[in-house]
Structure formats: structure tokens, C-alpha cells
Amino acid sequence: MSTHQSDGGTARVIPNWESCIDCGACEVACQRTWDLPPESDRIQVVALAHGTEDETNKPMQCYNCAEAPCVEVCPTDALRFRDNGTVRVDAGMCIGCHYCGVGCPFGAPQYPDAEIPEAEEASPLGARGNGLMDKCTTCEPRQEQGLEPACSSECPTDALLFGTPDELSEKLEEDHVSTPFSDEAARIVFGDDADEIVGE
């Protein structure tokens, strides 16, 4: 179990799309765990290639990219890397300009209008609604308790994998599947570790 950045790199949740059955359990687990309103989409099963023969429904959330475009474009430095390599939003700095929403290639930033409860354990992770940017926090408080993020923990088909790049590489190899990322996306998400993940 990886709770912080280790020698293997930043721990992330990535999807194994070949196993996803579009049940929505990840969405429910996220909202229930953090007492989020239904309009909160820290993880969401989305339709990709909508209206085409390739249309498919897959879970998407923040991947805490090593070369996060959101961090680069945020004018107020509300988005920053934490010591463990994850990306966090400071609700006290965000102005809700949606620059991160336009910059993120994965659609992770959300801007819920509803007030998200300021649960003690949720602070300072994520924003609290009112149009401010909110995103997946990788369930950092759960990790500190030795638990996996709620979504990957409750996914019935193991379609959400959690771990450092080394661990993810091993899991993908065990399942004989590739990552859902193209080379370009993998470079954004994993940075220097991209070859290790995509090269399998």
C-alpha cells in the first residue's frame, strides 16, 4: 500500500478500462465516503466518443499528473504539487476561472455550485463548492489510515488500479492489459515514468 510518494513515485488511481462495466460504484463510493452532493463529480463514468461506433463509458478522475497542465495555467497558484507529488487545490486561492478545466486533458476539474460539506477530514483537500474548482483528492485521509481510495477499494471488477508507477506497471502486467493512455497522455500523467508504464 502506498500512502505517499516513495522511491517508486507518486501513488495514483488509473483505470483498467477493459474491466469497467459502467456500474457507477466508484461514483457512489466517492460521494458516500466524503458526504458529497450528487452533483459532485470527483470521479465520473463518462461517455467517450459519444455518438460514434466507438462510444464507450469509462471512469475518469484526476490522475495527479506529473506534468499537470492545470498547475501550469492556474493564475493564482491555487493548484500546487504537494510533497508527495499529488496535485491539490487551495479553495482559499481559487477564483473559479475554469482555466484548469480548459487545460486538463482528462476533464478532471469540476465546479460544483452546491456547497460541499466542510467535513473536518475533507479540509483542506479540494474546494467546497460555490463554483470553485473541486477534484479527486486520491482519498489522502484514507491513505493515511492504510486504506486505498474509496473508488478503487469498492470497484467490483478491479477496473480502478491504485499504486505507484512501479506497482501499477506490475498490476497491468498481471492483468495482461495496457494503460488507457496514449504515449502523449502517459507523458503528462507519469512524466519520466511514462516509458515504464506505457512500454509494457
Binding site: D22, C23, G24, D41, Q44, V45, V46, A47, L48, A49, H50, D54, T56, N57, K58, M60, E67, A68, P69, E72, V73, C74, P75, T76, D77, M93, C94, I95, G96, C97, H98, Y99, G101, V102, G103, C104, P105, F106, G107, A108, Q110, Y111, N130, G131, L132, P180, F181, S182, E184, A185, I188
Partner: protein
């Protein structure tokens, strides 16, 4: 179960308010820059006519700033926090932060330059009896009398602080003119220093003009192919300059009743800049899909789904008609086949059309845009 939030169109992130914001700051930056050029040219002679363009260029710059940034703030979740620019806009790698500082400097500059050329007894470019330009002298000794809006004002008063122009007339009627005159005379530096400061502020205005292109998505991932900067920057720069100058000419024609030969030359200049904008827009339509194949769907959106807005309002109403109208009015005036009133109405109409076209262009570029689905192998 599945919904489509993650990969919706850019317009769902940035709605019409971003379009209005981008259009208005572009017009403002272009108007200031062309006004500043007129300010510099006034030193070469015929000061009052160049000065009119300078004054109304600075005013259009101010008006653009009065509309654009507040509309943007209304889009933000925390507008008051965003207004604390030195405290919040700390990431100077972000074009939004860069743009905020550019707007701050530009706002200060356009305000000061407008006040300095419009108010005060010793303001530059004010009409004098000695000025012999056609249309500036009347039988009573000074065209400024009529343009001041009051027959009781004579040339001597005009030269020493009269109510030159529509703006001064309006402010005179509401009793603010004396205070503004005092403020302007008290703060105005010498002419060389004023023009040098205007040059510094022009750098900010040019920055705002570039920012009006970069404000569309920029950063590590250029996710919207339609907003390719190679094509977008010329569109925004020529469009801002052309629309800004056309708006200043239109305002000058209406407010000061001035359609002199100098103003006509500026109208032709605006037509030239609008023609350059048209070329840049057409290059986007015909060349961008070849250079950036991912832009093909968005360009098709411009020509089909949003054809009324793009072809009808942007290209025809906002560019082609104003170009023809400007050139036609100038030619008509010089051949004495149209009246001053018709010419005034033409320049005013051109100003309105290009503003509408500029806003429509920004909206069309937002509405037609699509995210490039490059990262996901689906």
C-alpha cells in the same frame, strides 16, 4: 448511468461572457494603440483632428475596459478575490495572470491619457483660431465654437479651457468639467513626458492585444485546435486594431461632428486593418485544417452549425460591409456625392458593425471550438 461532463465542448467551461470579455479587451487595446499613433502624429501638424482620434481612441479603450473585465468577473466564482490582483495573480507562467497585470497597467494608462488630452485649459490638440484646417474654421473665427456645442463659447475660451467636443459638453452640463480640468492641468506632465508615458502604456495595450489571443486556452496542452496561436494571434491583433480604430472614428464623427480629410484617412486605415483581419480569418478557414487536421471539425462548425453567426455576422456584417462602407463614404465625400450627415452616419454605422462583428467572432470561436481528444486512445 453515463453522462458526458468530462469531454463536453469548451463553451461549457467558458460561456458567452468570456467571448464578450475577449472581444472588448481586444477592441480596447486596439483603440488605445491607434489613438496613441494619432497622438504622435498630431505633432506633425493638424493637431486637433489627429487629437480627436487620440481622444476617442483612449475613450474607446476605457469603455472597452469598463465592459470587458466586469463581464469576466461576473463569470468567476470569487470576483472580489480575483480583483486583488497583486495578492492572487501570482503564477506569472499563466497568461491569465499576465493578462491581469497588462490590463491593470493599460487601464491606468488609458485613463490618464484620456484625461490629459480631454480636460484642462492647457490640454494638447485643443482647437485654436490659428488652425486653418478645412472644416475647423468658421465665419466667427473658430470651428471649435460649433463643436464645443455652445455658440456662446468663443475661440479664446476654447483655447483656454472651453468645452471642446461632445464629452466636454456633456460634462459641462452636469457640472464636472471644472474639476476635471483642474485635475488634468494639475497632473499633466510636459508634452514629451506625456507622450513617453503614453508609449509605456502602449506596451501594456499591445500586451492586452496579444493577451486577447492567448486568453483562449494556452498552456502545456493546447487542447483546442481552432485556437491555434499561429492563426489566432493575427486575427486578434488585426481585429483589435481595426475594430478599435473604426470605433474611434465612428465616435469622433458622431460626438465631434468631424468628418474632415484627416478623419477620412483614419477611416481608410481602419478599412485596411479590417481587410487584414478578413485575410487572417479566411486563412484560418482555408489553411488551418491543412496545417492542423484536428481543427477540421471546428472549422466545419463555423461554416455549418454556426454559419449565421460566423459567415453572416462576423465575415459579412462585421468585416466586408464595414470595409466597403468606410471606403465608399470616403470616396463619396471626396467626390462630393454624399453629405456630411451621410458620411457621419456611415462612420458611426461602421463603428457599430465592427464592434458587433468582433463580439460575434469571439463567440463563434468559442461556440465552434472542440477539444482535441488526443490523450485517449478511444
Amino acid at each position: 448511468m453515463a453522462t458526458e461532463i468530462a469531454f463536453e465542448l469548451p463553451y461549457t467551461e467558458w460561456n458567452w461572457r468570456i467571448g464578450v470579455y475577449i472581444a472588448m479587451i481586444g477592441i480596447a487595446g486596439g483603440a488605445y494603440l491607434t489613438g496613441y499613433v494619432a497622438d504622435l502624429l498630431s505633432a506633425r501638424g493638424n493637431a486637433s483632428e489627429h487629437g480627436r482620434i487620440a481622444k476617442y481612441g483612449y475613450l474607446v479603450g476605457l469603455l472597452g475596459l469598463a465592459i470587458g473585465p466586469p463581464v469576466l468577473l461576473s463569470h468567476l466564482a470569487t470576483p472580489f478575490r480575483a480583483m486583488l490582483i497583486p495578492l492572487t495573480m501570482t503564477n506569472l507562467g499563466s497568461w491569465m495572470a499576465i493578462g491581469a497585470y497588462m490590463l491593470l497597467g493599460f487601464g491606468l494608462g488609458s485613463f490618464l491619457m484620456f484625461v490629459w488630452v480631454t480636460f484642462g485649459a492647457s490640454r494638447p490638440h485643443s482647437p485654436t483660431v490659428a488652425e486653418g484646417e478645412e472644416g475647423t474654421l468658421a465665419a466667427d473665427g473658430g470651428r471649435d465654437v460649433a463643436s464645443d456645442g455652445g455658440a456662446e463659447d468663443g475661440p479664446a475660451r476654447a483655447a483656454t479651457g472651453g468645452t471642446t467636443g461632445g464629452i466636454r459638453g456633456i460634462l459641462n452640463r452636469i457640472g464636472l468639467i471644472d474639476r476635471l480640468d483642474s485635475l488634468a492641468d494639475y497632473t499633466r506632465p510636459s508634452e514629451p513626458i506625456r507622450l513617453a508615458l503614453g508609449g509605456v502604456f502602449a506596451i501594456f495595450a499591445a500586451g492586452v492585444l496579444v493577451y486577447s489571443a492567448m486568453a483562449y486556452g494556452s498552456g502545456a496542452t493546447e487542447r483546442v485546435a481552432l485556437w491555434d496561436k499561429t492563426f489566432l494571434v493575427p486575427v486578434q491583433i488585426f481585429g483589435g486594431l481595426g475594430a478599435g480604430l473604426a470605433a474611434a472614428v465612428g465616435l469622433t464623427a458622431v460626438a465631434d461632428r468631424s468628418v474632415s480629410r484627416t478623419i477620412q484617412n483614419y477611416a481608410l486605415g481602419a478599412a485596411g486593418l479590417l481587410a487584414a483581419t478578413l485575410v487572417a480569418v479566411l486563412a484560418t478557414v482555408f489553411l488551418l485544417p491543412e496545417q492542423v487536421p484536428a481543427a477540421e471539425p471546428a472549422v466545419q462548425n463555423l461554416l455549418t452549425t454556426h454559419a449565421t453567426l460566423f459567415v453572416g455576422v462576423v465575415v459579412i456584417t462585421g468585416l466586408i460591409v464595414p470595409i466597403l462602407l468606410s471606403v465608399g463614404a470616403v470616396v463619396g465625400q471626396r467626390r462630393d456625392v454624399i453629405s456630411r450627415t451621410t458620411a457621419t452616419a456611415s462612420y458611426a454605422l461602421v463603428g457599430l458593425l465592427v464592434i458587433a462583428g468582433k463580439v460575434a467572432l469571439a463567440l463563434a470561436y468559442l461556440l465552434a471550438a472542440e477539444f482535441t481528444p488526443m490523450p485517449l486512445p478511444v
